[in-house]
């Protein structure tokens, strides 16, 4: 019973047991598809956010050189306005991936906090908060986005002008940035609803667990129990859901842009490129196919990554 009382203090500092995230990471390492997906996604990000700066101007038109085939000059050829397709795809990727990530971040922040509070306090608070979610979910998403976009795009135009005048920012850059703001806003506003439900359901069951009771008996306040014990325990499902919503948001962006409600030409995004490419489907299918390949590859990668994460974060399945 008096087990191993003498443990070398020095060795103990070096020896670290496995942590949850490290374990998850190791488990994911064994999942080849997930790793390949991760690599694909990272490469795409590097291309879009790093390599793009060394490419040609994606807005620069050259009407004498329309629909050019791939060459040393234009790696993937040019589009209907003679713009370099490769650099348009990369710049478009910036917008698409950013929309996915930022909207997910907003959705996770709001969704987790809202759901956790609703589930933890329960009773009337829970009823009211969840009915609000139900109401919002019953509104057609696309319709609201259309309205928001209409209202906010005017606002974004004036904001852009104001910033250029007062702060002296680069005009193109400011335009690009404010152009997508309404989109972020609209997606973030609705994206958290499902997550709030998921987190609430988690919290409802977690708060009845004995470790919460144990924390109470130690004298932890409700708020600290919520943030120190309950929310960390919901992180597994949250991370998985978040990874799976990133491609969802990218899709939404594409859909909206395709419908002419999201990013506006001459700015590019994958949705815009696919929309423009679709016009020349019969004569120049590469204008549709090439951005489509980037788009679907990224979506595939993110979906497989989410699946891999779900398997990796399932602590009990692998430990017990």
């Amino acid at each position: 019973m008096m087990a191993t009382r003498t443990q070398d203090a020095a060795s103990e500092e070096i020896e670290r047991g496995s942590s949850l995230w490290r374990d998850a990471w190791l488990r994911m390492g064994k999942n080849k598809i997930a790793i390949v997906s991760l690599v694909v996604f990272i490469i795409t990000c590097l291309l879009c956010f790093g390599f793009a700066w060394f490419c040609k101007d994606p807005i620069q038109q050259d009407l004498t050189n329309k629909f050019a085939s791939p060459s040393g000059e234009h790696w993937l050829g040019t589009d209907a306005m003679g713009r370099d397709l490769f650099s348009r795809i990369l710049y478009g990727g910036q917008i698409s991936i950013l929309v996915g990530l930022v909207a997910t971040f907003v959705a996770v922040t709001i969704g987790v906090t809202y759901g956790a509070i609703s589930g933890f306090y329960g009773g009337r608070v829970d009823t009211i908060m969840m009915r609000i979610v139900d109401t919002l979910l019953s509104i057609p998403f696309l319709m609201v986005v259309i309205v928001l976009q209409a209202v906010l795009s005017e606002w974004s135009g004036t904001t852009s002008k104001w910033i250029v005048e007062h702060w002296g920012w680069n005009k193109d850059f400011t335009n690009r940035a404010t152009n997508v703001l309404p989109l972020f806003f609209a997606l973030g506003l609705f994206g958290w609803l499902t997550l709030a439900r998921i987190v609430r359901a988690q919290v409802l069951s977690l708060k009845e667990r004995e470790f919460v009771e144990a924390a109470t008996s130690l004298g932890l306040s409700n708020l600290r129990i919520l943030f120190r014990h309950i929310i960390p325990n919901t992180l597994g499902p949250t991370v998985v859901y978040a990874t799976l919503t990133v491609p969802g948001f990218i899709m939404y962006e594409a859909t909206l842009s395709y419908l002419g409600l999201g990013v506006e030409s001459p700015n590019s995004s994958w949705g815009i490129l696919i929309k423009e490419g679709a016009n020349y489907l019969e004569t120049n299918p590469q204008l549709l196919i090439l951005p489509g390949i980037f788009f679907s590859l990224t979506l595939f990668a993110l979906n497989f990554l989410g699946d891999g994460l779900r398997d990796a974060l399932d602590v009990r399945a692998s430990k017990d």
């Binding site: 009382r5 103990e12 009771e213 130690l218 960390p232």
Partner: protein, 349 residues
């Protein structure tokens, strides 16, 4: 068991250094029903329990599942808000204190839970778990706390390297040691042990029990030891309280309880302890029936009702309360369950 006196059990009840005093504690849970969820009844989980625990003493609390013993433990550490009665700890009444007022006092009483797999947060390392009570009580700085965690792990017989691991990497017995280390972190005087070994293998149970007794000897702890198994309680307790349907039916020194059980329910429980020698067959009839519903308890003695004891009719309408029949031997004063002569035949029919 440092002192002889504690084992005999008669002395501690009138101990002047009483740590915990529970008086007429009631814990009723409302039962709601109907369209407007009006209160239509109450689960009388704990219904008027009085007990006290002295310094360095172990009070065992036994009873079948559903008799309210865990609820009693939770009400004492104020995980629940008692409906009535009072809990006094070191002289101060904590029955209706706010959690915030209670926090500094919690340093002196801690709880160990039944299932360590459930009561330890799987997202925190063992080091964080054990340090958490100290963080709450603002004890020491990071470095001192780490030092103390290592000491505590030593103390409960775990390697120091355990601090960096997670609770699910340990076996059941080791996890319970973590739970004990966590409870000990703030130097409490009283531990409420809610079936601390019930979830463990029998071989591991005795190790944990020995650890608990050793800790008590070294640190002068008091225990409220909750269990459903008299055999386990007998081993560690100075005094034992037997609980049935929210009430204590018999309370006396551990040895006295075995030598001279007076309540029919206590006798039935002692009868039910398995004997390890198969040749030593005992002819006792197992207790029949279920514990009555605490929502709708029988009008008379709850145990007499269950076994349809001959004197049950007498008990209807009586105010059954604990009486001290001998110094230190308290028994519920019920005509149908109490045998007059010590160690008489079994009344359970």
């Amino acid at each position: 068991m440092s002192e002889e006196d504690n084992i005999t059990g008669n002395a501690p009840h009138v101990n002047e250094s009483t740590l915990l005093e529970v008086e007429d504690l009631k814990m009723h849970f409302p039962v709601r029903g109907g369209v407007f969820s009006r209160q239509v009844g109450a689960v009388r989980a704990v219904d008027g329990v009085s007990l006290s625990i002295g310094r360095g003493e172990t009070l065992g609390l036994v009873g079948e599942s559903g008799c309210g013993k865990s609820t009693l433990g939770k009400a004492i550490v104020r995980l629940l808000n008692p409906t009535g009665g009072s809990v006094r700890f070191k002289g101060s009444d904590i029955t209706h204190m706010w959690q915030r007022q209670l926090r500094p006092l919690r340093q002196d009483f801690q709880m160990v839970f039944q299932d360590p797999a459930e009561s330890l947060d799987a997202r925190m390392s063992v080091g964080e778990l054990v340090a958490e009570p100290m963080v709450i009580q603002r004890m020491g700085n990071r470095e001192q706390r780490r030092e103390r965690v290592a000491e505590l792990l030593d103390r409960v017989g775990l390697p120091r390297s355990a601090a960096q691991k997670f609770s699910f990497e340990f076996s059941g017995g080791q996890r319970q040691r973590i739970g004990i280390a966590r409870a000990l972190a703030v130097n409490p005087d009283l531990l409420v042990l809610d079936e601390p070994v019930s979830a463990l293998d029998v071989s591991v149970q005795s190790q944990v029990l020995n650890l608990l007794m050793e800790l008590q000897r070294d640190l002068g702890l008091s225990y409220l030891f909750i269990a459903h198994d008299l055999a386990v309680v007998k081993h560690v307790s100075d005094r034992i309280a037997v609980m049935y349907l929210g009430k204590i039916v018999e309370m006396t020194g551990a040895d006295e309880l075995y030598r001279n059980p007076r309540h029919a329910y206590t006798k039935a429980l002692i009868e039910a302890i398995p004997v390890s020698d198969p040749s030593q067959r005992r002819d006792h009839e197992p207790l029949e029936g279920e514990v009555p519903s605490p929502i709708n308890p029988p009008p008379g003695c709850a145990f007499g009702h269950r076994v349809s004891a001959p004197g049950y009719e007498e008990s209807i309408g009586m105010d059954i309360s604990l009486k001290e029949i001998e110094p230190g031997h308290w028994i519920s004063d019920c005509p149908c369950c109490v045998s007059v002569q010590p160690a008489a035949g079994i009344i359970v029919s």
